[in-house]
Subunit: 367 residues, 4 copies
Amino acid sequence: MSSNSFGKLLTVTTFGESHGPAIGCVIDGCPPGLAIAPEDFRADLDRRATGKSRHTSQRREADDIEILSGVYEGVTTGTPIALVIRNTDARSKDYNDIAERFRPGHADYTYWHKYGVRDPRGGGRSSARETTMRVAAGVVAKRWLAERYGVRVRGWLAALGDVTPRAFDWDAVEENPFFWPDAAMVPELEAFMDRLRKSGDSVGARVTVLADNVPPGWGEPIYGKLDGELAAALMSINAVKGVEIGDGFGAVAQRGSTHRDEITPEGFLSNHAGGILGGISTGQDVIASIALKPTSSILIPGRSVNVRGEPVEVVTKGRHDPCVGIRATPIAEAMVALVLMDQALRHRAQCGDVGAMKPLIPAKTAP
Amino acid sequence: MSSNSFGKLLTVTTFGESHGPAIGCVIDGCPPGLAIAPEDFRADLDRRATGKSRHTSQRREADDIEILSGVYEGVTTGTPIALVIRNTDARSKDYNDIAERFRPGHADYTYWHKYGVRDPRGGGRSSARETTMRVAAGVVAKRWLAERYGVRVRGWLAALGDVTPRAFDWDAVEENPFFWPDAAMVPELEAFMDRLRKSGDSVGARVTVLADNVPPGWGEPIYGKLDGELAAALMSINAVKGVEIGDGFGAVAQRGSTHRDEITPEGFLSNHAGGILGGISTGQDVIASIALKPTSSILIPGRSVNVRGEPVEVVTKGRHDPCVGIRATPIAEAMVALVLMDQALRHRAQCGDVGAMKPLIPAKTAP
Amino acid sequence: MSSNSFGKLLTVTTFGESHGPAIGCVIDGCPPGLAIAPEDFRADLDRRATGKSRHTSQRREADDIEILSGVYEGVTTGTPIALVIRNTDARSKDYNDIAERFRPGHADYTYWHKYGVRDPRGGGRSSARETTMRVAAGVVAKRWLAERYGVRVRGWLAALGDVTPRAFDWDAVEENPFFWPDAAMVPELEAFMDRLRKSGDSVGARVTVLADNVPPGWGEPIYGKLDGELAAALMSINAVKGVEIGDGFGAVAQRGSTHRDEITPEGFLSNHAGGILGGISTGQDVIASIALKPTSSILIPGRSVNVRGEPVEVVTKGRHDPCVGIRATPIAEAMVALVLMDQALRHRAQCGDVGAMKPLIPAKTAP
Amino acid sequence: MSSNSFGKLLTVTTFGESHGPAIGCVIDGCPPGLAIAPEDFRADLDRRATGKSRHTSQRREADDIEILSGVYEGVTTGTPIALVIRNTDARSKDYNDIAERFRPGHADYTYWHKYGVRDPRGGGRSSARETTMRVAAGVVAKRWLAERYGVRVRGWLAALGDVTPRAFDWDAVEENPFFWPDAAMVPELEAFMDRLRKSGDSVGARVTVLADNVPPGWGEPIYGKLDGELAAALMSINAVKGVEIGDGFGAVAQRGSTHRDEITPEGFLSNHAGGILGGISTGQDVIASIALKPTSSILIPGRSVNVRGEPVEVVTKGRHDPCVGIRATPIAEAMVALVLMDQALRHRAQCGDVGAMKPLIPAKTAP
């Protein structure tokens, strides 16, 4: 399978450059009979979109999805679903001055070295613009998971730089532009971002995604483990430098007597594992977190070289996010949803549908 | 591709249960002409083996590799290389009492729920015994990378519980049973482990792997990124709960002006990225770290249920490691080596061999 | 990999229904630096297009390719190449009367049974309209093969019903609408087709494709053999019921002393094998033939059932080809070219580029 | 996926050389709960084995299967099933004289050119010895298909050179060493083979496989079509030069009014399609045929070259079959069974289990 495709039975292939004519994807393997319409993509695309608040890039992406195939009279037919979005607000001239120089911390140097040629406009293929199509594909996966299994996949911003939430409320998450679960802290975050933008710098972030109602049994050992595939999916998101399942790196200093999640007939007593044991879902919430680096596109000049190896100074003047992690929340949700749907299909291929074996212990949901 | 296979062009398929007749693997896609003999596997298998010090499981694994195919007159022929190790010291009776009960923190419950049947002896397929074959396959990858590109893949224990090295010396790593880079601390670690074993508990660990001399250009965006595939490979190792590339979760609180690795004609000025940008190697050291949970097989009794959903108490009396993370070092190296070799082959398929484009800036190696 | 994708390293994913908004494909894995422009697709799309002579379907396909990604300043960049063609002359009303009935010999019944829902307009996804994108992708493969290895992939109609060529001339093939290598017979074929159309019936055909200058060494035993992959690629073309390599079914009655192609220092003395031994190219011409069934869309009424299982009569009044095999020539060429390019990339991944080992015996080209 | 693996959800990876220590396979993706024991492989391995009559190679293969993994207490567990057979009667000295010369019609030259190194003993990896493991894997697939769907997969020899059966009786097929459906002709075949062996020559053959009770709906358009995958699977068998589905090349001269299989509420009126339309099973018998070339290992001297390009004469004195096609019958059955099982699993992943939609028309079985 080629490297622009993702998933084994639900396969998503994306294409397109930041400032090319269009971006798009082909979703293959979706079961027939799922109702889907262009307007169903709106909500999640808006959540990911730039230009929505003063804290994200000011590029305005209309992001009108066109469904080119795979849907007939409003339902999927089992054939590949092609989605396309035309690139409209692509101001390529912003990037002309960096066609010959490599922005530090960006993929410019590595693409150039790998391929010997690159589309420098807006980062070309390496731009986070590509993640728009992940979100779109994720919409299909979320709907299918919800309709068939009642699975919900939801994320939030778990750290903005060194700031972390002091309270948790699902309702708050969707009511502020930070996906922040503590409404009282939003003014604090706004002040933080204003200072950051003024300084011309950027900051990292942490995003956590939780999927509830995942039945036990999803995940394929040994090299198709649920956590292994989540790790691949999440690490492939632009700017991600780390992935954790459950307690993640917190487990390093833990004792086994603490970490192991004991079980009673009423259910698990804790969820340090993040809902996955041996690469297979336990029936508890599946929880994954990612670390996002601070974007390298900042106003503070940096040293680099150009295509001739000469030293240059780089200042990135394009429309960029001072914290790319914020908008990563719906992207991470999409990747988790795509992995779960793929694993659900794989599980039913080998083991038959969920429900053949009734979970011994009840599922439990808690943020 | 099935879920017991790993890699696109260099594909490793493993098989075998902890206490079945044998474990083995098939390595497919290795270029012809690589010299390889049974004794070449000895060193790394010994590094992973149990029973080597009092700080690891006392199961004695002879681990004599037999090469069943793919090697003729001492060199690989381009056909699949099958390796097999007979299981000898498999004391299945140790596990009889847990055939009907699910050890907390183990894959017992999830395998049972997924498949409706499981081999409980020593964890069956979910046992870390499987990683023996990863190490064996990794030997082939390490040799090929070293001979063809001068790439070395080496790991160390970066944290034992909350203890971290105070100094770093490559030479020390291989001279103590902890893969610890600070020789002066070894007595401290031994005391730590003795206390831990006495308490009947276990502890987590952190392992870091570094590959040097990796040429720029390896890695396939978007879903075959070098970091994405490292994440999948490392997260698939038993007990791993987190993966970091370069600064990993440390990037969350960093500023962009710090994190971006500036470039001069003499080379990169730092390596926060861990040698990967846009999913492609930069020519710097590739650095990845993993978090390993404390094993759940401990002497302290824990609550669980049996196959009928009734409450039971579980005490694991088998021969287990109080810190499974220690022996994970060669396993993590193997997975990194396998990913790199696969990416090297993929790079030369699409872009021709390395060297077509001379790196503008020198590679830099530093631990 | 999903079932609408084809190829391992050069992967083509197609999408689109006959009468949906558009058809398209994503070509992933093409090496960077290949010059390609929208007008390069014209010639082969025209060769495949309907409406070109009175002997093929009268549906007029403008088939204007738009390149959505993967090409920058006229050359490929190594990122996925997305191609789209809008469907324009889609007269769906022609098909309204068959939405509820299953045309005998068509995929109507099987799609309906598999998916429980289907797009009946023009055959939906099962229409040969999909092959337009194969031809488009094949153009990229042909160019790359020609530029890099001098490989040419050319086909001809080797039988129209029971009529076979009495002479062979490459120049003739492209100068008549039948891809017929014997110019003198063209009036005979035209009369044959006129009679056929008048009878309201259809006829089968045989197409042969020959690739010359294929270097020895392409093809991956055991399950990625060159002939195995050609068989899969060619059998996946609509209406194909048989595939032969070299002498094909003619080998059944042959003796080994005849069939084996003897070798001298000046080259092979014959090519019964069709240029492939043990699944690997020999350096001789690669030759494959396919059998195409007569289309089931004919004016003669046929018995069938409808979605309620009731008996119905079906007469297909749409614009159809009395011999679908004629237009299959460029499609078959495309599939052969795609397989060869994929194998070339796979060969260079595992074994390095062609040329490392000089063929002992000269290649030989003869139709 | 590597080239020694076959199948998407039921993946079979084979390894081993003709005269190496062992041959084996790993079957991954088999559902749990299937009863399987070493002795279950005996019947089909015997059907394929050499040394069973004077009409096949006299090499005696004991072919004792050892199950190394994936089966616990007599049933599959869902983990990979590894099977191994030790090579015992491997008389390598027979082949010493051809280590440096290329047997015409064999893979010697192509392996040598592809890899630059080869194991010449008995053909090494290119030997039909590898097909032993296909037959073994096929046993698992046949059992699962039979138990779960009542599908039977059976083959026969449809032509021995230019001799074809004059009658058809399933019972006869297994009662003679030729898999011949016309018992009365067996003496004629024996005389034919005796003459052939005396002449030192070999002959081609045709094998047909029929699977009954295949439910409608199996097969994945466009590039995972049931017929496409059968073609790949069958063409990958040693010596196969052609594959037909249903009428195959017979369709070339047919009219559409003949070929299309009309439908009534009582069922299809014919089966020219071989049970597949649009790449999906129709519910009729699935029928595929293959052409096998005459083996090139004959006593009649042939011209060739050696590794230095010098002219040599080759006479093959090893123990070879004068008609390799005879023993291909169980191999072809195995490949058909493996394809069907893989497609059954894929179907239930995307579309749920068979039975969701009741076939409108009854299945029909006829040879």
